[in-house]
Symmetry: C2
Subunit: 348 residues, 2 copies
Amino acid sequence: MNTPNQDNRANQQRVAQSDTQASSITTVGSEAEASSGKPGPNHSFGVIGLGAMGFGAASSLLRAGFSVWGCDLRDTTRKAFSDLGGHSCLRAAELAHCDAVMVMVVNAAQTEAVLFEEQGLLGPDPQQSRMRAGSVILACATVAPDDARALATRVAEYGVLMLDTPVSGGPAKAAQASMTVMGSGPKQAFDKVKPLLDAVSARCYQLSEAIGVGSTVKMVNQLLAGVHIAAAAEAMALGIRSGADPHALYEVISHSAGNSWMFENRVPHILQGDYTPLSAVNIFVKDLGIVLDSARKLPFPLPLSATAHQMYLAASAAGHGLEDDAAVIQFFAKLTGIDLPAKQTDQG
Amino acid sequence: MNTPNQDNRANQQRVAQSDTQASSITTVGSEAEASSGKPGPNHSFGVIGLGAMGFGAASSLLRAGFSVWGCDLRDTTRKAFSDLGGHSCLRAAELAHCDAVMVMVVNAAQTEAVLFEEQGLLGPDPQQSRMRAGSVILACATVAPDDARALATRVAEYGVLMLDTPVSGGPAKAAQASMTVMGSGPKQAFDKVKPLLDAVSARCYQLSEAIGVGSTVKMVNQLLAGVHIAAAAEAMALGIRSGADPHALYEVISHSAGNSWMFENRVPHILQGDYTPLSAVNIFVKDLGIVLDSARKLPFPLPLSATAHQMYLAASAAGHGLEDDAAVIQFFAKLTGIDLPAKQTDQG
């Protein structure tokens, strides 16, 4: 990071890790060797859920030259995807002929629905799988590791392979084919979908052969992302209440040890007074909920995550659930009356 | 940061801010114009408190060619400073002839003591100031903004100028003359000590003419730093308990949206099992204590800071207060019995 280093141990460790990690983490990406997997441009891929992330992934696959089937409930979304040259479908069942399908819906319940419903990708009966044996499903929603394992067990009954491949990076990265994939599952399945992963992601971590590891790492990432946005809000709110200029706070802290990826990315929304949702408050109500539910089952205490979750719930309860997640600062604004920067009007 | 961008608004905003910030933030540093202030290499500077940060600052001033007086209670530290060519003193009063003195002690109470005690830099009687009128004191300890303002009022009674200049960056940056200074105070005083600030810091933010703004920004930075280290501990502990490889977690998250400056810097200490204190658990017991005390006076609620403070207090109560602040993960280890990476033995 372009910020001061408090000591050199981090960098030294980083080098040491790279040596020891080579065997346990495989990263495939644009810098990796050319594809040698079976499905080429002649093969067809599907994406279920053409939302902010799914539309970007499906578009990236089209640009890479594949035949792409996209499934979404919204007419306007299907129209937009058809306009790009994709095959748009209303029902997941229509994607069953694809070599591999990315399921990019919101949560575990939606993933189950699009796979196992009457009009689902696999259908309700394991004895009558709609997909060919050996085809691959990539489960991309953020779900609890236990849910990923349960899904894989059920998918296996159909003779179909499943990968636990949650994604990160946001809509812009998805559109640019440079998402990060935090993946785990059978090497055989990763090999089959290498052309697909190369086409949609800048980094694909192949963390383990065991389903659930990908979702565990994604869960830990979401824990930090959620806490860091809430912490950015708490810090900015205190600074504003104490009389500091919010732009100066951002300038200094984004160059200091208090910086985080989320502070740097989300505080500008506060400075601009622009809460147009790129990712909404309610997404962290859900994602930190998954983190806390999973930890409760272990059981494992998460004091900071639980506190941050309450702040998102409070912002949602105050009517800001559909706004950008930076609106978690309303927890402080509504309670204390601090003046947040107003939305800037267009000046040209 | 060398991490994915979830959207482009941050960068766009960053550029827009740079335009609007030029008038309100002045950064002096090695890239700034050559010194035109009065004190040159013929002038003398002092540093009170030759600890991890102070020794680095005093050494940087020596390397820049100034005559430097250093004050510390420890014989070995004074000896080490004399060996570098500095003038070592036991009593702060012996630095009274200096043009400017940096006070780099631990807190507000120590700052008051070294200034106003019988053998202090200024002495107990404003009518008999030991320092010349117009000389400058730089108050560098992390203190509450109210304490900074109270100190400045008292220093003014001696006819001496004070700057509110807390520093950031850690011992390594201090030794490399590349600390960050979060400063506020009279422009006249900043102009006088420009050669000193150029010699010790890579960035010096001149945030306001008002004493207290520097300490406010430092307080907000410490809030984030403290919460981020505790969040890194919570995330790594959950990941380890859930069966993820801690080295893989570090590799993935330090390249993802869950990253923070502190995650990247401190988690390697956990991976190496090395809790040699660079900055100790008890420093955050103190610094988050300052943040919470200041907010309570406003009053202002800080749910995440209060929660993180309890985690540092718990780690301290469990006997880890003098270890590196990454040992806040003992909050989880002691409670849940998770296996943290053991200290690596030297292999060469």
